[in-house]
Subunit: 257 residues, 5 copies
Amino acid sequence: MERRRPPQTEEGWYVLHDFRSIDWDAWRNAPERRRSQAIEEGIDYLASSEAVDDAAEGESATFAVLGHKADLLVLHLRPTLADIDTLERRFEHTALAEFTERADSYLSVTEVSGYMSEDYFDEDAEVEDTGLARYIESRLTPEIPDSEFLSFYPMDKRRGPEDNWYDLPFDERAEHLSSHGDIGREYAGRVTQIISGSVGLDDFEWGVTLFADDPTDVKELLYEMRFDPSSSRFAEFGRFLSARRFPPEHLGAFLAG
Amino acid sequence: MERRRPPQTEEGWYVLHDFRSIDWDAWRNAPERRRSQAIEEGIDYLASSEAVDDAAEGESATFAVLGHKADLLVLHLRPTLADIDTLERRFEHTALAEFTERADSYLSVTEVSGYMSEDYFDEDAEVEDTGLARYIESRLTPEIPDSEFLSFYPMDKRRGPEDNWYDLPFDERAEHLSSHGDIGREYAGRVTQIISGSVGLDDFEWGVTLFADDPTDVKELLYEMRFDPSSSRFAEFGRFLSARRFPPEHLGAFLAG
Amino acid sequence: MERRRPPQTEEGWYVLHDFRSIDWDAWRNAPERRRSQAIEEGIDYLASSEAVDDAAEGESATFAVLGHKADLLVLHLRPTLADIDTLERRFEHTALAEFTERADSYLSVTEVSGYMSEDYFDEDAEVEDTGLARYIESRLTPEIPDSEFLSFYPMDKRRGPEDNWYDLPFDERAEHLSSHGDIGREYAGRVTQIISGSVGLDDFEWGVTLFADDPTDVKELLYEMRFDPSSSRFAEFGRFLSARRFPPEHLGAFLAG
Amino acid sequence: MERRRPPQTEEGWYVLHDFRSIDWDAWRNAPERRRSQAIEEGIDYLASSEAVDDAAEGESATFAVLGHKADLLVLHLRPTLADIDTLERRFEHTALAEFTERADSYLSVTEVSGYMSEDYFDEDAEVEDTGLARYIESRLTPEIPDSEFLSFYPMDKRRGPEDNWYDLPFDERAEHLSSHGDIGREYAGRVTQIISGSVGLDDFEWGVTLFADDPTDVKELLYEMRFDPSSSRFAEFGRFLSARRFPPEHLGAFLAG
Amino acid sequence: MERRRPPQTEEGWYVLHDFRSIDWDAWRNAPERRRSQAIEEGIDYLASSEAVDDAAEGESATFAVLGHKADLLVLHLRPTLADIDTLERRFEHTALAEFTERADSYLSVTEVSGYMSEDYFDEDAEVEDTGLARYIESRLTPEIPDSEFLSFYPMDKRRGPEDNWYDLPFDERAEHLSSHGDIGREYAGRVTQIISGSVGLDDFEWGVTLFADDPTDVKELLYEMRFDPSSSRFAEFGRFLSARRFPPEHLGAFLAG
């Protein structure tokens, strides 16, 4: 068995999915003054994080998480890991943090790979002003869309004795991903995705974050993809978390039920 | 290996299985006044949730859970995820919530698929007044039956190298599910089911909720199904939770032991 | 692949294995008065549960659990799930419950299957007074033996691509289980078993509870069975818990170390 | 597939690996008087357990555990499970227990099997005074060696569709274990082992406890064994815990850092 | 199947990855005096650990961990397990420990194996002053590089029925690892690694610690390696933890957010 050719990759912003649970007992029992301060400092943290929204500085957004796995998701994209580290610890020093516990997290970095955009990697200089260059840029320094619904899950490519993604020839992998991408394109305008790599950063190889106004569009897209060989034979999925976006200034309403 | 044809699906109500544990120590030690308030606000939450019972607005029901995994299950079906989100957080603001902790949950959405009802998807307009249309409606906006016993479990279809559901031709899958459905029909009147999809919403692909007056009818049905290839070769089951329904106004008796 | 014929089953009593951990810190620090009350109410709960010992009403027994998984096991068999539900919650209202936390549990129901006793299922009326009928009765409404040692574990039958129990022809399964039963019979008088089904009730398909005065008899029996194909090829085991029986009136001594 | 012949086994002492974590926060904050009492009662418990050191009564030893899994390991070997049960609960009534939590445990019983010593099982009476009899005795009622380092792990033999230990003919298994034993013998004087069976007692089939003055001797032994088919094809390992022995009277120094 | 020849190994320093979570609630609420003391004693512990930096005594370094798995990583390399044991428990007696909980850990020992350096093992005496000897020394008593980013993960070599590392002939394994090493060498100057063995010491067979200034260099290296058969067919990875180095004297700034 020979060593297979890896795709080239280029990385953009680091991504932290920071999931937190609210300590509702503490919240209910806290005096009004401390609750007001928590809301104020929480809005300040979230709003100032989200205010950093141009391509040089990153993006942030806030979500309410459905179910028992967490209550709050703060999603951060930033150019350096130091930025992410700072944001993560700065949260702990808000009065809001007193009412939260860390429930989960995922660390990754936006990436494009040479499967889909070999031209980009081959002839870097000449594509700079083309649509491809703009596409690459939109993948590496993505905008978080305004959609209401978010679905996040980490995933690996399978390395089983029969179905081993990493033992497929490059062209076969590229073909699989091209076919996979075709499905995604049918959902353009309905579902937006941020694909980030996490080999060496977190427990799985990729994080996938999908955005849509209608959650059933995400369900339909992923269900259709599951019948595509790149998923049916080669994908191993981790946990799935579902969340709904809210603007920082609605934090008080979120906490009030 | 080619990409297989996915079934069409249509989705109805979002479903939250909200499992909670009672903090019995806190309950025993609470003053009578706080316990009365918890019961009152709990009944109010549960009864008003259950009062929303027509097909436009959703359904809710309350159950006592057997064993150590949880004590209370509140089952909500609602037209939008926003409704579910609101119900979930509204619970936290009742005095009852102080005596509970979130033990588990499952998020899904009722679905019908084109395997069983291709006509529906093919000739939408013409089936509107037929039995099929009524059947579809009963699956998408189901009534929670009055049965005493509930069994809930999430499940996936297997994607192994030998037994890969997502690599079967459409017709073979449809045949499997038709045969599977035949078993279910033998239990008509004894066991009622709500099948909800959760691809992209929660950790498994489906949630299955079975209702019966006699728990051994559920056991017999699932055991018979386990010998059917769609289960024996293709099903991967998650945890199973068993519960008994009680009317909201019995909450005080439930908490009194 | 065809649908295989399931065995007929008949169910008897519901079974709850209720495992609890003692909060030894709270126990050591509690005033004598509260400890006395806990012992008194605990004995009352356990003794009255065990007093229900005829075939119409069920059986209960109390055990000290070895190792860190739990400290106390209360084993209940009752005709209805409502009885089990009541017993489970009644415990929480004893003063003893304040010193315990739920560590684990298992819900199942005693069963006999048509593999071993096809006659019973085929010619119900005529076997009523025979030894077979008495045997069936002893399986469905078993007495908890007086043995000192108990071993409990849940198990599944394997559904792998090569070794798939649910894809074996009925006769092959019956032959496997007959051969398996032969081993058990060699241990008659030394090891007693209660087999209960839990499809749809709890996470595995069966619970197995073995009783013996000498724990090495259980070890020898299970080790011998492991070489029998019905275990070596087809069994998937869950956790194992070991416990020693004690009479309710020894609860004080148990808690005193 | 036929039923394979199990080896005969003989059992000796029951073995409890009792792993505990120190609550360092509580320890740091406790008044000197309570700490002195904890040390005194702890030493008393450990020293009196270890004092029971002849072949009729059992063995005990105390260890500091490396890493986050636990802090303290008390290893007990005793003739009856009642002895083990008593020791386990007696610990909870020392003042030391207030500063510990149960982190893990393993229950097993020393065993010899007919693979290695068929003569013993075949001609019991005649081997009584031979070296074999003394060897058997040393396995069933072992002395805990004075070595500084201990490594503990539980293990199963694999029952996969290709590599199924329990489906090998007796002679093949005996040959595997003989070859495996040859490796062990090369480490005589450097690594000592206690093999105990736990089928029906705890989650795995065996517990392995290795003792050495130099931890790299254990590493080298296990690494060499991993290339032997009885490990490379047939072993499934659980968690590994590493610990260093200390005499009970050093408990104060252990707790002082 | 025959027993395969294991490589010779030589071990150097014991390695403890000591991961801790900060109890931010306690930290925020602590009086200034206790926080100052915690910072002072923490710096003292970390700085004095790191001060031990020559090849006879070991190495230590301090890191901020990204995500919810931990907050702080103290990495210790020392000549004896007793040194590691002492350092681990000494931490618990600093005022900083009051604000931390143990989140994870990994115990291993630096190693070189005969795959890559057979000459070293064959002709020990003659290589003493060569580059090989210096290379071996740098692996057994490594310096922790000054890089900003650290990635840690434990791993096993697979023992599956098709892909079984431990059943490969020695030369095939050596060839795999030589090819694997070639990839690593391409990253010289960008990524530094410490490989430590943990057979018999902790749950996996090896710990891998990678250091780089740019985290995407680690990601690129590991992604490229994943296409190499020694990873794609034979590696089983555990959890991945990401961290950023900081000098002990920045502990106050780290805790201040």
